[in-house]
Symmetry: C2
Subunit: 309 residues, 2 copies
């Protein structure tokens, strides 16, 4: 799957991932109204609105991008109907041959981590049969519990040729509270980065490992250091756009082969029609605004990468 | 809810929580067979088996215990039908007036953490209406992302009079890889413990905070230190029984008021009928074996607490 991700990035020339993190407030009135007419103002109605919104954005952008990253929390808040919308979104994106990164940030130990891995990346055994659960291609994982938490995920990834992105340095302002604490003079995130590189050796693709890392665009200097510590690790970079990261901040997350990183934008793409730059499209044409925002983001990153060559 | 938890612990004299972490291999053949006859060997069949198993254990133990802790991963692995079984289990336990600790170990940032909090502890707004999602009483939370990740949970907890247990020192062998790393001579878990105590001051119950901590029974010395660092923090203690923790290891997790900790056992209770000590009950009477295992666990902890008085 990491080889497929690399291939798709090369084909689209777009090292980006669209974050499908729908808030109801992002969804244009005409979609909400139609969903509520059919299902009422219910969890089912909200789930239908989310699904139709996602479908619109995917249909308008799938030929330009290699991957999507649905944020499961945004679905989970609507209970079971929300989870059904998540599943439909994952399935639809896979049909469209997009690589699906489930942003689930799960993490536990032993058989519990294995259960998460099975539910999201693998197959579960029921009697003589086995079934895929949510069936994403990659999942994000929290490393706080150490190897006992991560290795069961890697076991399932090896069986299924799937991958992970493990949190190393997150994009938020307070990420330093624990992640930046110095251990023998070096920050915790470097130690976690070294572990990710080590875990990654257990499950290598062609040029990159199936086991990737998450490092926020908002910390470009740390990104440069981590790039060196984890040379064969693909880095998922959140924090571009709405969170303040810019194309020029991103160059050090990439390797000299122009690969090694994939940059996420969520709100900046899916709610583009609400921004000044794209409001000419109008809410009725939210998909077209999202397509234009993807094109602009690709150009921004491409320009930044070319500027350093 | 923390006051209610304390009251229920005092009433039952049982500072324990039963971990509802059903693996299919724990579920007696007669329950699996009945579920598969009705739904086939499908995800729905597995979910029905889990639900009937849980119901049997809850019916046999609810008068003895203050709380249950369903581990969502064990349900999530069965996809949507598994999540439905999780929801049914939470709802049923609340009907039985048990305090429900959702062992979800979620954690993200900002609006994403808030979405998890809303989905599990709060109400989500849909148009003019609002709905509970999974509606547990407490949730476990991962602290790796710092205050930005935790405060949105606390916000929802305050609105709903609900609580958290934040991972501080987990029970697994490799928990030290990151959690024990020394920062200015003190381990990371102490720093996290201090933060939990600080966050806890924002949402106090009568004697204890709504914001608790998770500290593994397998690390009793660290438990003693953390007990002092977080005097008003309720500690959820996993790792008793199957993971190796014993009653005598637990005394230092409690305060002198005999409160301040709640000890989890999962496999040791729910799969008691599979252990030598309880196999006389037989698989057909798995509930009775679980009830006896609860009584024995309460006696073990009570004895250990009395021995130090």
């Amino acid at each position: 799957m990491i080889n497929q991700l690399v291939k798709k990035i090369q084909k689209t020339n777009a090292p980006i991932v669209v974050g499908l993190d729908p808030m109801l407030s992002y969804i244009p009135p005409h979609i909400q109204d139609a969903a509520f007419r059919e299902y009422g103002e219910t969890l089912e109605g909200a789930a239908e609105a989310i699904w139709q919104f996602n479908k619109g954005i995917v249909d308008a952008t799938y030929d330009l991008i290699p991957a999507v990253k649905p944020q499961i929390a945004m679905y989970e808040q609507f209970g079971i109907p929300g989870m059904v919308a998540y599943q439909k979104t994952v399935d639809y994106c896979r049909e469209k041959e997009l690589v699906v990164i489930g942003d689930i940030k799960r993490g536990d130990i032993g058989s519990t981590s294995e259960a998460y891995a099975i539910g999201h990346l693998g197959k579960v055994q029921v009697g003589a049969k086995s079934f895929y659960g949510f069936n994403e291609d990659f999942a994000t994982v929290n490393p706080y519990l150490g190897s006992d938490g991560v290795k069961p995920f890697i076991k399932v990834c090896k069986e299924e040729h799937k991958g992970l992105f493990i949190l190393v340095k997150t994009s938020n302002p307070s990420s330093g509270e624990f992640q930046d604490q110095l251990i023998d003079g070096r920050p915790l995130y470097e130690l976690v980065g070294e572990k990710v590189a080590e875990w990654g050796e257990e499950h290598m693709g062609n040029a990159y490992s199936y086991i990737g890392a998450v490092v926020g665009a908002t910390y470009p200097k740390m990104g440069r250091t981590l790039r060196k510590i984890m040379p064969k690790t693909f880095i998922l970079v959140p924090g571009y756009g709405a969170q303040g990261g810019k194309g020029a901040d991103l160059v050090h997350f990439f390797n000299e082969d122009g690969l090694g990183a994939i940059v996420n934008s969520s709100r900046g793409i899916i709610a583009a029609y609400k921004q000044d730059a794209y409001q000419g499209f109008g809410a009725d044409n939210f998909q077209d605004a999202s397509r234009q925002a993807v094109l602009d983001m690709v150009a921004d990153i491409d320009g930044a990468l070319k500027a350093v060559k």
